[in-house]
């Protein structure tokens, strides 16, 4: 059912409860992560596939492992319930 394109889109989420604003991700991938205000981390959940290496480096550099990488969710948005 789920077909993976050759270069699957990048997806990530940061657990902001865990994030301690160390900023390592901001150094590693500045186009994806940034601070808004003194300590508030903001980031792009679906950055361009071209920054995959930087994002992987950011995830690895995060001292509290707050960054989760994954692929696209590829549901088939249908309304076809079935009768069994």
């Amino acid at each position: 059912m789920i077909t993976q394109p050759p270069s699957p889109p990048l997806r990530l989420v940061v657990d902001l409860n865990r994030c301690q604003s160390y900023g390592q991700c901001v150094y590693a991938a500045p186009t994806v992560f940034r601070f808004h205000g003194e300590e508030s981390l903001e980031y792009d959940y679906a950055p361009d596939a071209g920054v995959r290496r930087e994002v992987a480096r950011a995830a690895a550099a995060c001292p509290v492992q707050a960054i989760t990488l994954g692929g696209a969710t590829e549901p088939a948005p249908t309304a076809s319930g079935d009768d069994r």
Binding site: R11, S21, E38, S40, E42, A46, T73, E74, G81
Partner: protein
């Protein structure tokens, strides 16, 4: 064909209703736990799961578009997705979920993860007017963002809870005039009490928000065209505004459970401590589970009441517990007893909380200072530490979390280098509670109007 109800389930059919944060994380955890059977995700929204916290922050401010808040799928879940499909009924003995299109889906185990929705403004008081918004979904955020881009002369935010504060903050970032009404003396009063609430009121005022404490909106009035024109407040004054954002709490999405025999109402769907749904007459149902914002359950740490947490962290953790218990037998069941945690970002500040401050009778600033707007406040109930809030100091909270977990005394003994010489606890000033009296229902926190 059907697995015996009491044993763990690794094959057969699992249906998850609610395809958002809790639903997706539960589906992934079910596969992680070794479930190899048929997995169906039913979600009313047409979108793949996305994250809601940025809706009131980066999305409203225009720094992130809704295409960029989609949640990653951390493993292949090999599920059948029924998106844009609303569940309308549940037949517990027949093990079927009824859908809006008249069909039904059979299950061996069911997970209820339908979350909450924003409490709407009453129709009689102007709720149908053009320009009146709530904020819970992508569509809500896009609609509101469009309204803000049209440069309204003033935005009225009804309610200074977390969502209201974040919306007001985003509006100020866009340079819009903002009035915020708040029933209690300060913002966030029911979640954090009046002492810390007063500090957050300063953020509003410094950002140029017209904050109206002790005030409710009586009615919203429109032009003959049906567009919002002004609000009449409880003190008799009026506020001219073309946009109003109603941020007065949330209602659980449980209507589809009506008639199922489950204990469920606008406050949530009740489960036991192992996430098993309860019937209205107080028995756990073996094959129906509940997780996320919709769940109300007896948290072992906070006995005598049912807890509902509208927090990201809880949705993820409860989804995992439910998935574990769905797939394991009676001897291996987990109890859902997380230390509550959440964050908020408003007026350029990063606020984080652990435990349940709303339970407290006393509060004390343990690090930094309220004036410097960088501080940690600890909350105590009858001499025990029950929670802590940190503003722009995220790194220290873990230590407080460990103290709350271990039932440490209040005021806490910290010896922090940036702490005051001597701790001076004061009444936490939660609205509607006499000083020193313990809360009566505080852990049904956040109370419906108190929070997201």
């Amino acid at each position: 064909m059907t697995a015996p109800a009491a044993a763990g389930l690794r094959t057969g059919r699992i249906v998850v209703v609610g395809a958002s944060l809790a639903g997706l994380r539960a589906a992934e955890a079910l596969r992680d736990e070794g479930f190899t059977g048929e997995l169906t995700l039913i979600g009313e929204e047409p979108h793949e799961p996305y994250d809601r916290p940025p809706l009131s922050k980066a999305v409203l401010s225009g720094r992130l578009s809704c295409d960029h808040i989609v949640l990653p799928q951390v493993r292949n879940i090999d599920a059948r997705w029924l998106l844009g499909t609303r569940a309308t009924g549940l037949d517990v003995p027949g093990r079927r979920v009824e859908l809006a299109d008249g069909r039904s889906v059979a299950y061996d185990r069911l997970l209820i993860a339908t979350g909450t929705r924003a409490r709407p403004w009453p129709v009689q008081a102007g709720g149908r007017l053009d320009g009146v918004h709530v904020l819970r979904t992508r569509e809500d955020a896009e609609r509101l963002r469009g309204a803000l881009l049209a440069s309204p002369s003033r935005v009225l935010v009804i309610g200074a809870g977390f969502t209201g504060g974040e919306v007001a903050s985003s509006c100020r970032e866009l340079g819009l005039a903002v009035t915020v009404t708040q029933r209690s003396a300060t913002p966030l009063a029911s979640a954090l009490g009046g002492v810390i609430g007063r500090a957050t009121a300063d953020w509003y005022r410094e950002a140029g928000v017209d904050l109206r404490p002790h005030t409710t909106v009586r009615t919203l009035e429109g032009h003959p065209s049906g567009r919002l024109r002004r609000a009449v407040l409880s003190d008799g004054t009026t506020v001219d505004a073309e946009v109003a954002v109603v941020a007065t709490g949330a209602l659980a999405n449980t209507e589809w459970l009506a008639g199922s025999g489950l204990a469920a109402d606008h406050r949530g769907a009740v489960s036991d401590a192992g996430c098993r749904a309860m019937t209205a007459d107080g028995r756990p149902v073996e094959d129906v589970f509940v997780a996320g914002d919709v769940a109300r359950w007896p948290h072992p740490r906070y006995p005598g009441q049912l807890l509902r947490l509208d927090h990201w962290d809880n949705a993820v953790a409860q989804a995992r517990t439910a998935a574990h218990n769905i797939t394991h037998g009676p001897g291996e069941q987990l109890v859902h007893r997380p230390l509550p945690a959440f964050w908020s970002q408003q007026f350029g500040r990063y606020l984080k909380s652990i435990g349940v401050p709303a339970l407290a009778d006393q509060v004390v600033v343990t690090q930094g200072s309220l004036d410097r707007r960088q501080f940690v406040a600890a909350y105590g109930l009858q001499g025990r530490l029950v929670g802590a809030v940190a503003v722009d100091s995220p790194r220290v909270l873990e230590g407080y979390a460990a103290l709350v977990e271990s039932g440490a005394p209040f005021p806490p003994l910290l010896g922090a280098s940036d702490g005051p010489d001597h701790l001076d606890p004061v009444d936490a000033a939660f609205p509607g509670r006499a000083a020193g009296s313990p809360p009566d229902h505080a852990v049904s926190a956040p109370a419906p109007t108190a929070h997201r």
